[in-house]
């Protein structure tokens, strides 16, 4: 309590004085205006760029989802051509995965990792600038392909051959190059994260003292380095198959289209964990704060995360149960997939045990975190259903799969990103966000997201295939409900936008540690955090 009141008095903080002098530095050394952002090598500026970019992509991909849901509001074709519908599903998926979720996590890593480990900045600031600034080009290329003759990519975000080779539009080369650039950006980001965490920890910040967000990002970074190059390889093969006459995936030339799926999912399944491990770190930071207890089972969290990462390389073919694999392979991948549920269960257990008998309060970050725990677990359960090989023969390529991955990605990854934004906004902006608006955003989102995705389970079980612009009339009612949920969820996100802008513009001044139960080095810095984080290493107890 004592520390709390002291920190609540901003003028008395020594850090604040340092911050002011840093601020002057900044004006001496750094250009202002657009140049500040173009040439910045500062981890906070780059984090901010990533986060805004991710939000813009979230709205862009979201707009495409609205087009999809509008077309699916009724059976029959009313608004758009089937080919354009396919382009919408494809680019929606690509943008959400590579443009919204992954850059948001990289943005959070940039902002938070140096502050959490007591470092002045990221280890490789110039590479950091590059890895951000090539991203807008990648997505401009991808989006501009929509306007080419023959249209943009229409083969699904998974770009299965021969859809992406023999039958793909002329613009496929643009798709391939944009994926290459995104991959390079992610790999550079990952290298930066690893070097920062390994070499720049403050003295005394031992491995088992690292905040879990740092741990989970470290493991994510290794996953990125392991699988993004494989993605780059497989798109390259698509490129040469389509344009240069190779036959990696073409049976006529001795290749095999099923091999595409093996290579793609060798990347693809670790990729889904790339999109969820940092969330685990975020939730592990927020739940203890608002439970006013230490995280239950810190060490088991670290081991669980590592084992999820290792296992994620052994389960890729659960996306391919219906391709006619031999029975022993089906069983192997089924059991390995189910095995992943064990460390995941450990995590969920630990979060609940952390809340158990805590003195809980329900500020917006906590609300999103609790929603994450419940809804992500629902997504995990549908995952286990899908992992049952014989059952997957029914569920595969239906809306059940769509429901599954939206529960883990929207109410999982995206909700955790929202929770993180609310939790750290006071640190980033120096102002408290509008709690009332935050709660409105939360309740609008959590209700609409379930109206949107829960009925999809039933659609899938009843046999509605995914990636279709038209459907049989018996699915009409449920699709209508789903679309209404979709529009409501889409609109709710503007509340978030308004809240963030309001918070940047002003509001109640935030204390260095606005959450009394929070732990971690970032809360020892004043709010807003000074331009350079820890110019002298902090002392670690």
């Amino acid at each position: 309590m004592n520390t709390l009141t002291r920190e609540a008095e901003p003028n008395m903080e020594i850090g604040q004085v340092e911050a002011a002098s840093d601020h002057q530095d900044e004006h001496q050394q750094h250009p202002s205006g657009i140049k500040r952002w173009l040439f910045t090598t500062n981890h906070k500026d780059i984090g901010t760029l990533y986060l805004w970019f991710s939000f813009i992509m979230f709205l862009t991909g979201g707009a495409m989802a609205m087009v999809i849901r509008a077309e699916l509001f009724q059976p029959g074709l009313q608004l758009i051509e089937p080919n354009f519908f396919n382009q919408m599903t494809t680019i929606h998926g690509l943008i959400m995965v590579f443009g919204a979720v992954m850059p948001a996590f990289t943005g959070l890593a940039n902002w938070l990792i140096p502050m959490m480990i007591g470092a002045p900045d990221m280890a490789l600031p110039r590479m950091n600038n590059w890895s951000f600034w090539i991203l807008p080009f990648a997505f401009t290329i991808l989006l501009s392909s929509l306007f080419m003759e023959g249209g943009g990519p229409n083969f699904g975000w998974t770009f299965y051959a021969p859809l992406s080779t023999t039958y793909s539009p002329d613009s496929t080369a643009l798709f391939v190059f944009s994926i290459h650039i995104m991959g390079i950006s992610s790999i550079m980001g990952a290298i930066n994260v690893i070097v920062t965490i390994v070499n720049m920890r403050a003295p005394g910040m031992t491995w088992m003292k690292l905040p879990l967000f740092v741990w989970t990002w470290l493991i994510t970074a290794f996953l990125l380095i392991a699988v993004m190059p494989v993605l780059a390889g497989v798109v390259t093969m698509v490129l040469t198959d389509k344009y240069f006459g190779t036959s990696f995936f073409d049976a006529a030339g001795g290749g095999d289209p099923v091999m595409f799926q093996h290579i793609f999912w060798f990347f693809g399944h670790p990729e889904v964990y790339i999109m969820i491990l940092p969330s685990f770190g975020i939730i592990s930071a927020i739940v203890p704060t608002f439970s006013r207890k230490r995280l239950f089972g810190y060490a088991s969290m670290v081991y669980a995360t590592s084992s999820i990462a290792i296992l994620s390389f052994l389960v890729w073919a659960h996306h391919m149960f219906t391709t006619g694999m031999p029975v022993f392979a089906e069983l192997f991948f089924m059991y390995c997939t189910m095995l992943i549920a064990v460390p995941t269960g450990v995590k969920v257990f630990n979060w609940i045990a952390t809340m158990w008998r805590g003195s809980l309060t329900f500020e917006t970050p906590m609300l999103f975190a609790i929603a994450f725990i419940i809804l992500f677990t629902i997504g995990g359960f549908s995952g286990i259903m899908l992992a049952i090989t014989p059952a997957d023969f029914q569920y595969h390529d239906t809306y059940f799969v769509v429901a599954h991955f939206h529960y883990v990605l929207v109410t999982g990854a995206i909700f955790s990103i929202m929770a993180a934004a609310y939790y750290w906004l006071p640190k980033w902006t120096g102002n408290m966000y509008d709690e009332r608006l935050g709660k409105i955003h939360f309740w609008c989102s959590v209700i609409s997201v379930n109206v949107l995705f829960f009925p999809m389970h039933f659609l899938g079980l009843a046999g509605m295939p995914r990636r279709i612009p038209d459907y049989a009339v018996q699915f009409a009612d449920v699709n209508q409900i789903v679309s209404i949920g979709g529009f409501a969820f889409g609109l709710s996100q503007f509340i978030f936008l308004a809240l963030v802008i309001k918070c940047i513009r002003g509001g109640e001044k935030a204390a260095a540690k606005p959450w009394e139960g929070a732990e971690g080095l970032e809360w020892t810095l004043p709010s807003p955090a000074p331009y350079h984080s820890f110019t002298t290493p902090p002392e670690i107890k």
Partner: protein, 184 residues
């Protein structure tokens, strides 16, 4: 940043970049690896791409295996393509001769490549061809027809659980690809 730190950064960056480059290579290494695994484990129904030699086996008259033949054409292939017989019964170790019939229905010379696949996949390794039209490209002049020979034997080591082998050919139009040589 101290000099020491710069050095250890560079070392780590080197390792990580090497890891990324290595994984890029690994992606491509998966291609031959996939073929080798399929062949070794006898999965995926792939048969060998070149002629096997027939050793005079003792013919296992106690077993009879049903061989079924299927022929498919890719949509842009203007040929008619079908097996001479749809089904035959053979003993393991016996050398058998049959053929497929192909006719170019178009007014253009066309080159085709047939790709075989055996089902169940576990049986593929035991289905041996000493001569097959699938080892080479086939060229038919406009309206020309041909008999495409196939000589094969079933390895007597074929597991007892397999009593039927289905051999399916898909015929691809490769006229525009300008390939020379065989599939390999």
């Amino acid at each position: 940043m101290s000099n020491n730190q710069g050095k250890s950064n560079r070392k780590l960056i080197g390792i990580l970049i090497a890891g990324a480059v290595g994984m890029f290579g690994f992606g491509f290494a998966l291609v031959p690896l996939y073929d080798v695994l399929c062949e070794q484990l006898g999965i995926n129904g792939k048969t060998q791409n070149s002629a096997s030699t027939y050793k005079p086996f003792t013919i296992d008259e106690s077993r009879t295996i049903t061989i079924e033949f299927m022929a498919q054409i890719q949509s842009d292939m203007p040929w008619e393509f079908k097996p001479e017989v749809k089904r035959m019964r053979v003993h393991p170790g016996e050398l058998v001769r049959t053929h497929f019939k192909a006719k170019n229905l178009s007014l253009k010379d066309t080159i085709g490549q047939a790709i075989p696949s055996v089902s169940p996949g576990q049986g593929a390794a035991y289905f041996n061809k000493t001569e097959c039209f699938c080892f080479n490209q086939q060229r038919l002049m406009a309206k020309e027809s041909a008999e495409l020979p196939l000589i094969f034997f079933v390895d007597p080591d074929l597991p007892d659980s397999i009593t039927t082998l289905t051999l399916s050919y898909t015929l691809y139009n490769i006229t525009d690809r300008g390939y020379v040589g065989s599939v390999e």
